[in-house]
Every structure is written in C-alpha cells, then in structure tokens.
C-alpha cells in the first residue's frame, strides 16, 4: 500500500495515461499525490542571452506559466476526487530533480508517462524515463500513451 505517489508531468499528451493511472492509484490507496513539474534548464539556457534578452526572459516566463497550468490541471482533478495533492515547480535537469524530490519527500512509487513511439527515436534522444527508472531507489511505473 502506498502512502505517497509522485507524478512528474510535463503537461503533454504523453502524460495523460500516467496521470489517470496515478490518480486512480492515489484514490485507491488513500495516498498523497505529489505532482512535479521540472522546467528543463537545458531548454532555456540553450538560448544565448545578449541581443535576444527579452525573448529569453519571455521563454522562461512562458515555460513557468505552462508548467503551473499543467500542475494546476492535475491538482484540480485530484481535488475533485478528494485526493490529497501537493504540487511543486522547479528548474533543472528533469531526472535529477525528480530523483531529488522523490528522496526528499519519502515517495514510495514514481509514476512516469512515456510517449509510445518508435524505439529508434528514443534511443537517439535518451530518455528521462529510463534514467529515472535506473537511478531511483523506489519502484517506477511507466505508463504509455500512444501518440502519432
């Protein structure tokens, strides 16, 4: 029986089945659902500042806003079902932040979404899911959502 479940979400459609799975599990076990959104620092840091400084600020603000929306969306669905929920927004390397949060908050299972796409593509990109599964001391449940 789980007391605390961590759902890292990027708010994309790749996370939708994982979100449903995590909500069901939290509901069933009476667990607290922790929803985490990590703003990938490599995304906004890859834009060099100098003459585009305004765009740079705009990008980070935009990422923060969409992250907050993703968190609030899941939190609202949890509250509607009477599930205890906590949300957290942070910046950094996604897998590092997920692992750190899981350790700091005594998480018992991490539920990760994954887009169901060709293996080749993923092998080239590397995968947050795989890194988390390999490095987490907690069990990790990977729930896929098919995307074209």
């Amino acid at each position: 029986m789980y007391g605390s479940i961590l759902l890292p979400t990027d708010g994309s459609d790749g996370a939708s089945n994982a979100t449903a799975h995590a909500l069901d599990a939290a509901d069933r076990y009476g667990a607290t659902l922790h929803v985490l959104h990590v703003i990938d620092s490599s995304v906004y840091e890859s834009y060099s500042g100098d003459e585009y400084v305004h765009e740079f600020e705009g990008l980070e603000t935009g990422l923060t806003q969409s992250g907050e929306e993703a968190l609030e969306d899941v939190a609202q669905r949890a509250r509607d079902r009477g599930i205890a929920v906590e949300t957290y927004l942070t910046r950094g390397e996604p897998h590092e932040e997920i692992l750190r949060y899981a350790t700091d908050n005594d998480i018992e299972v991490i539920v990760l979404g994954s887009r169901d796409r060709s293996g080749e593509y993923r092998r080239l990109l590397g995968s947050v899911t795989e890194r988390v599964a390999r490095m987490a001391s907690q069990p990790v449940t990977i729930v896929k959502t098919s995307v074209e």
Binding site: M1, S114, D116, G119, S137, P139, I142, K144
Partner: protein, 149 residues
C-alpha cells in the same frame, strides 16, 4: 487496482526482488510468474552442429523441469506473504514472450527487475526490462535491486 499481474521470473536475485515487491504490494491480485525458455541466451542450449530434433525435445523437457524447480522457489517466497502464485512457461525470445504472455493472460501490469547500471551483456544483447518497457502496451513497474542488503 491491478488484478492480473505478470512477473517474469528466472530465479535471479533481481527477479526475486520483483516478486517480493509484487507479493507485498499486490497480494490481492492474481500474480503469475513467467519463465521463458530462450534458446538464444540459455547457457545449457546446444549450438550449431549438435542440434537434432531428439536433443531439442530432451532439452525442452530439462528446461521445463528447471522451470518447475524455480516456481517452487518462487512459491516459497510468496508463502511469506500468503500468496498463491500462478505459473507460466513460454518458449522464445525473452522480451517478446513477456509481452505476448501479458496479452494472453490479460495482464494489467508487468512488474520487472531493472539493474541500476547496464552490464556488458545487456548492452550487447539488449536489456530485457528496457525492451519490455519499449514494446509493452500496459503499465510496467520496474523494481531496482535493494541497495542495502
């Protein structure tokens, strides 16, 4: 609530870890341990010129016997959680047969051990858990080896 859980089991410490976790967390579900007879990775399989139909039959029988012994060990683990296991044996490539068995049994969750770091063997032949996750359509829970034991 997962009702039909598939746990690939080969008697390795990692597969025992996955089974213990499954019994502890999902004792109320139907838990099926699956052993796969894989000619490509089984060290007892004959190679090349040694093959002929009679030997294949003998070898399969021997592997089935091995599976029965493994399942006795698995049931001993499950007994500690008062869980009665279902068992299954498949012949074929490991990751492929895990996903096929999950489909056949109508499993709603696969629970599988995952090494913290790839071993050389796994880099070469492709790691089972990784391939299972890639091809599965149902949720897969990966369980790591217990660090402090």
């Amino acid at each position: 609530m997962p009702e039909e859980i598939l746990v690939p089991y080969d008697g390795s410490p990692l597969s025992k870890e996955a089974l213990k976790y499954t019994c502890a967390e999902f004792g109320a579900a139907t838990i099926t341990t699956l052993y796969i007879i894989d000619r490509e990775t089984d060290k007892t399989a004959s190679r090349g010129w040694g093959d002929h139909p009679g030997m294949w039959e003998e070898w399969l029988e021997d592997r089935n016997e091995h599976a029965r012994e493994l399942f006795e060990g698995a049931q001993q683990i499950a007994d500690k959680y008062s869980v009665t296991l279902q068992t299954g044996v498949a012949v074929g490539r490991v990751p492929e047969m895990i996903n096929k068995a999950a489909e056949l049994y109508g499993s709603d969750l696969i629970i599988i051990g995952l090494h913290g770091q790839s071993r050389l063997e796994e880099i070469l032949i492709g790691e089972v858990a990784k391939v299972v996750v890639r091809n599965a359509t149902i949720p897969v829970t990966t369980v790591r080896e217990t660090v402090n034991e």
